[in-house]
Amino acid sequence: MYVLTDVTRLYQKGRHTVPAVRDVSLQIPDGEWLAVQGRTGHGKTTLLQLLGGLDRPTSGRIELDGRDLSRMREAAATRVRASSIGFVFQTFNLIATLSAADNVEAALVPLRIGAAERRRRTAAALESVGLSDRARHLPTELSGGQQQRVAIARALVKEPKVLLADEPTGNLDEGTREEIMALLEKLWRERGLTMILVTHETAIANRAQRVAVMSKGRLTIRPVASTASGPVPFATSPGQEAPQPAD
């Protein structure tokens, strides 16, 4: 479970201070699918990076299962990412020189698993995303949708507790977008993941159990069209009402 308390992230740009995230407090229970929606530049990706321990807040606390990510040393945060957090990026971020199987296997290297076990788990991960027959292909030999499926396999091969997806369908056409979202939803249900998905599209956000809206660094929770598991706790930044999303 994630607990965020008054999390703020400020960036210094010359003489100006830019607040990417402002006073965000939020709880994300285990197994929840939270969408983070908002316009470009309003702090969605920054929030995701803070949740993944890729960045440190300027102030506030971020706890994951009781461990304070915001004050952890880099080595410890890296270990948490290695074992518990999977990432899916908008631009796939596959390593161009490695095959699909090697890209997936790269996520298991930090876990010091034996080579045979790594190969077995890699094969299973590629099978789960329907790409067993593309294991030896390089990223340049795969379509956008296939590349994103490899990235999803890479994120999930280590059986993480948390999946952080930053605009996973942002670079895909409409048909492939639906394909990827269906795959993510299926894997979320099957594995009981805590999934936090950043998107600027309302249709995609509404598929989640809960939607957090980032607006100029501040977070509010808005109602979704329907939720499968019933009402969920609201969270806001101080003094803010829940705004309507931009699109």
């Binding site: 990076q49 993944g52 890296t78 074992s83 957090i85 971020n93 296997e105 930090p110």
Partner: protein
């Protein structure tokens, strides 16, 4: 293994820059190998010249500089030759006793070196760290023909001379003769100590049509040739060897000087080990404070000519040039590696997001650099071997000139006024040499390659260690 797969694929992707880096390192390493091999070859050639001068196994030589000339300009021992040649006739005076008319002056003397007592040899042999010692007399046999008279256009014939070595038959394993091989006849026996027998150098024998059984005149005394000796090609050995006792009886300490009975002018010393040479040098200097005690490395400075120039070239210019090229190669490799790391910032950010520690990513980059360095090292060894082969195929023989003062100074009244000359006995020989590659040099090349790769990777690694994952992922390629 994942590490090797990733490394190999990354090098294939960056084939062009990997080749540039490898070639740069190869050039630097190849140059280092070639220069070291050439330098070793030149040093070996120097050593062979020295060996022939002083014999195999000599680590230290002991000589003595003669005292300064007297105020009258003659030798300090007061002995004096004077020669006057003019239109009215010639006169040669020795210590005030004069002889007129045409004549031949024949002398056997110690050129430019003062006498040392033979008892010093025994004293030195008792020193700690000395394993062998022998005494010797290095002499010059000079003959000058004085004409009966001379006009303004008369030119004097140059003295004829040859070098003579008095061999210590009590200790025959040191000294110039010990470096040679008897080609015909036989060497001295211990019983030849007081015999008029000689061994001659093969080149001298050929040029003077001498063979075993012929005679050679040394110090106005006939010696029977019992053996012909060959020395290393390009060396400058003495031309005639006679027993030390005979040399002592016939030679004088400078022209017209005292006889050298019980004296030597060179003592050859072998140290117990190379590490003891310096200590032995100090101990002898303490025992014989007025003597000149030199080691092989300081003797090398006596050699001039092409050999000495080549030694300087290989040692100074060659060394610095190869260091400069190697430094430039490593600098270029470092810049290219840093550029490659910069292009892969997003990739490394992704790996950090996957849970790769900085150390793991650095190990990957270092592995790529070291691999490129090793490839460069192997190419460099190939270039070095090719360089050595080229040198050995085209390099000419070097010349070595060893100049020794004859000790003869002529003061006289010639047709054109006062005449004074001090001819030197100087020998220029052709020294064949070859660049030599050893296992040590190959090992050095491998070490340089790995170190070059590590240094190049170190700069890229520093970049990675400064990387923040969030910033890296935000990079647009």
């Amino acid at each position: 293994m994942f590490f090797i797969r990733y490394l190999g694929r990354e090098l294939r992707r960056r084939m062009r820059s990997a080749i540039v880096i490898a070639l740069g390192l190869a050039l630097g390493i190849g140059l280092v190998i070639t220069v070291i091999a050439a330098s070793t070859g030149v040093k070996n050639a120097q050593a062979s010249v020295l060996r022939s001068l002083y014999g195999v196994g000599t680590d230290v030589t002991v000589t003595k500089t003669p005292p300064a000339p007297s105020a009258k300009g003659g030798p300090a021992n007061g002995q004096r030759f004077s020669i006057s040649v003019g239109p009215n006739g010639a006169e040669v005076c020795h210590n005030g006793v004069c002889k007129k008319g045409a004549q031949t002056i024949s002398t056997l003397f110690s050129p430019g070196q003062a006498a040392l007592p033979y008892s010093s040899v025994s004293a030195i042999s008792k020193l700690h760290d000395v394993s062998a010692v022998a005494g010797g007399l290095t002499l010059t046999d000079n003959k000058i023909t004085i004409p009966g008279s001379a006009g303004p256009s008369t030119s004097f014939n140059a003295p004829t001379s040859f070098t003579v070595q008095g061999v210590d038959l009590a200790r025959p394993n040191l000294g110039p003769l010990s470096a040679g091989t008897i080609k015909s006849g036989h060497n001295f026996a211990a019983s030849d100590t007081n015999s008029n027998v000689a061994v001659v150098d093969s080149n001298y024998a050929i040029s003077n049509k001498l063979k075993v059984g012929s005679t050679v005149t040394v110090g106005k005394t006939k010696f029977k040739i019992i053996g012909i000796v060959t020395q290393a090609q390009g060396s400058n050995p003495p031309q005639v060897y006679i027993p030390l006792a005979r040399a002592q009886a016939l030679a004088t300490n400078g022209p017209g000087g005292k006889h050298m009975t019980g004296a030597v002018n060179t003592i050859y010393v072998t140290a117990a080990s190379a590490a003891d040479i310096s200590m032995v040098q100090k101990e002898i200097k303490k025992l014989m404070p007025t003597a000149k005690v030199t080691t092989a490395s300081s003797l090398a400075s006596q050699i001039t000519g092409g050999l000495a120039s080549a030694a300087r070239l290989a040692g100074d210019l060659g060394k610095w040039l190869s260091i400069l090229v190697l430094f430039a190669a490593v600098a270029i490799a470092s810049l290219l590696t840093m550029a490659a790391v910069s292009r892969r910032v997003r990739e490394f950010g992704t790996l950090k997001a996957l849970g790769w520690r900085s150390k793991r990513i650095i190990a990957q980059v270092m592995g790529e650099s070291v691999s490129t360095g090793v490839i460069g090292g192997l190419l460099g060894i190939g270039l070095g071997v090719a360089g050595i082969a080229t040198i050995n195929a085209i390099a000419p023989n070097l010349t070595a000139t060893v100049t020794q003062a004859s000790g003869l100074r002529f003061f006289g009244q010639g047709p054109g006024g006062p005449v004074s000359s001090a001819p030197n006995a100087s020998h220029t020989v052709s020294v064949p040499w070859s660049a030599t590659v050893t296992a040590g040099v190959i090992g050095l090349a491998v070490v340089l390659a790995i170190v070059g790769g590590l240094l190049a990777g170190a700069f890229g690694s520093w970049r990675i260690s400064q990387l923040r994952p969030a910033q890296a992922l935000a990079r647009v390629d």
